[in-house]
């Protein structure tokens, strides 16, 4: 075990921890991806499979990560080293770095959302009333889709600075305080939006589409794989971030109940977002399915912006929608910066220095994605699929340490909800992983017949298995080379008094 005490930061209350893990989980994936996936899968059957996936994929992984953080009081690299031995340090570091790489391009989205809040506040929707969807498409293209996207880069820099400033203030003064405001605001704004949207003529058609169960969906493998992927990418289970927040948890924190809370809290946010976006599109768009299939950016920054402009009260509706998106994105970005910061603090750096180094890394690596959307798309694919592998690493690590041991030592003793079979489901995770990850990998091969192994230029081969393997492998090689040095420095755990 680690021996040097380092500050002993801790959440002020259980609500502080719950708000923070909810803030991390509830992101843009809930607001713009969930409704799209639901629509692509034809409605209700997706929802049922989604709930099954919550129990079989998300809850066991969240429990495993949380137990690692609570047990070792160290972030990803330090915990793998402490629990499994020095040779595993690079594996924990790889898991953490995947999340940091993801964070570096995800901040770009926060910058986009900030830009659109500013646009709405400065009367953009009035122009859209005359210019229509052609104008929203043109503005979006000029802003973010035409490299070098200098303006998008400037908003990205602003987003990184705001997020880093929150993390530099520490666990209670920054992370916890921000999430206690951001997280309730997401739910409140979405609830207000639902009230407005369901009163639009024809909105009920969207609700009907969303909640009609077509039994054929249950026999369609594509619906199962999409629901499982959505759970993996929406709840944040198995990304290593729950792990980091439990470094600051109380000694008797209830892992099982908190995992259940965040799984259903995340689903609640996604359902509310679905009940805003789908009925709004069905009520306002001439061809709802074409809008739902227009991708995350097309749906949000082009089509929804256009629809808001043509609705009574569209200014408030649009502003609230982008504010919800902002809260969701910011609460996720600060979690990713905290992950990098805590890993460096475990190596003996002060919080301020660690935050500074992570901020510089985000600025350098993320700039590439901010300036060129082709790179953004590549990073989204490469690190999104890698996150599934991080989940597998946690499942393997839990099995190596001992599933029963973790239950008896860290989960069961402090829990108001002792559902052992749910936790033990982690033993089946590798099978689920093989299907979901294999499906993504296979799909990526079919998108590039004869060229699936190519990776350069990244913009051209954004989604190839070649680019994935090269980028994952490069990161692994660097971390293996640094394994000894990292293992030597990782001795500063967050020991509580």
């Amino acid at each position: 075990m680690a021996e040097i005490k380092q500050g002993g930061e801790q959440f002020a209350s259980r609500w502080g921890l719950i708000a923070t893990i909810l803030g991390m989980a509830v992101g843009t994936g809930n607001i713009w991806r969930f409704p799209r996936e639901l629509a692509a899968c034809g409605g209700g059957a997706f929802l049922v499979i989604y709930v099954i996936a919550l129990f079989t994929w998300a809850v066991p992984l969240i429990c495993a990560e949380s137990a690692f953080g609570k047990k070792t009081r160290m972030a990803n690299a330090g915990a793998f080293k402490t629990l499994l031995g020095n040779k595993w340090t690079w594996v924990g570091a790889w898991a953490g770095m995947v999340c940091i790489m993801l964070g570096a391009y995800y901040v770009v989205v926060l910058g986009w959302v900030m830009k659109y809040i500013a646009l709405i506040l400065t009367g953009f929707l009035s122009d859209v009333r005359t210019g229509g969807v052609d104008l929203t498409a043109q503005v979006w293209k000029n802003f973010a889709m035409t490299p070098p996207s200098v303006e998008a880069w400037m908003w990205f820099v602003g987003a990184v600075i705001i997020s880093a400033a929150i993390i530099a203030r520490g666990v209670q003064g920054g992370l916890e305080k921000a999430n206690k405001i951001l997280v309730p605001s997401i739910y409140i704004i979405l609830a207000i939006l639902i009230v407005r949207v369901v009163t639009l003529p024809g909105a009920w058609k969207g609700l009907q589409f969303m909640f009609t169960i077509d039994p054929a969906g249950f026999t369609n493998p594509d619906v199962w794989l999409r629901a499982y992927t959505q759970v993996a990418w929406s709840t944040g289970a198995g990304w290593g971030m729950f792990h980091v927040f439990y470094v600051y948890s109380a000694k008797d924190e209830d892992i099982m109940l908190n995992s259940f809370t965040v799984a259903f809290g995340d689903t609640t946010a996604a359902t509310l977002a679905g009940m805003v976006v789908i009925p709004a599109v069905f009520a306002l768009a001439p061809d709802p399915m074409a809008v739902m299939k227009s991708g995350a950016n097309g749906l949000t920054f082009v089509n929804l912006t256009n629809l808001f402009a043509h609705t009574a009260g569209g200014f408030i509706l649009g502003l609230l929608f982008f504010l919800a998106l902002f809260s969701a994105a910011l609460s996720s970005v600060i979690a990713m910066i905290e992950l990098g910061t805590r890993n460096l603090m475990d190596m003996g750096y002060s919080r301020i220095k660690a935050t500074l180094y992570v901020t510089v890394f985000f600025l350098v690596v993320g700039s590439w994605s901010a300036l060129d959307n082709g790179i953004f798309e590549n990073q989204d694919m490469v690190w999104g699929v890698a996150l599934l592998m991080v989940g597998l690493l946690y499942a393997i690590a839990a099995m190596k340490y001992g599933v029963d041991k973790l239950w008896k030592e860290d989960i069961e003793p402090c829990s108001d909800m002792r559902v052992e079979w749910l936790w033990k489901g982690i033993r089946f995770f590798p099978v689920l992983f093989a299907f979901v990850w294999g499906w993504w990998f296979y799909q990526a091969m079919t998108w590039y017949p004869g060229e699936w192994y190519k990776f350069w230029p990244l913009q051209k081969y954004a989604y190839t298995p070649g680019s994935m393997v090269v980028e994952w492998g490069l990161l692994a090689v660097i971390l293996i080379a640094l394994n000894k040095a990292m293992a030597k420095r990782l001795i500063h755990s967050n020991v509580l008094d």
Partner: protein, 39 residues
């Protein structure tokens, strides 16, 4: 029929979320009360 599905889904997801938050916060309140005092 879809209205029934909607009601059931909302009760299961949002109801479970509300129950879990309530249980977590009540448990913390209980623990704090238990640990209060001069020791």
């Amino acid at each position: 029929m879809w209205q029934l599905t909607m009601a059931i889904f909302i009760i299961i997801t949002m109801g479970s979320f509300a129950w879990a938050i309530k249980t977590a916060l009540a448990s913390e309140k209980r623990k704090r009360r238990g640990s209060a005092g001069p020791h």
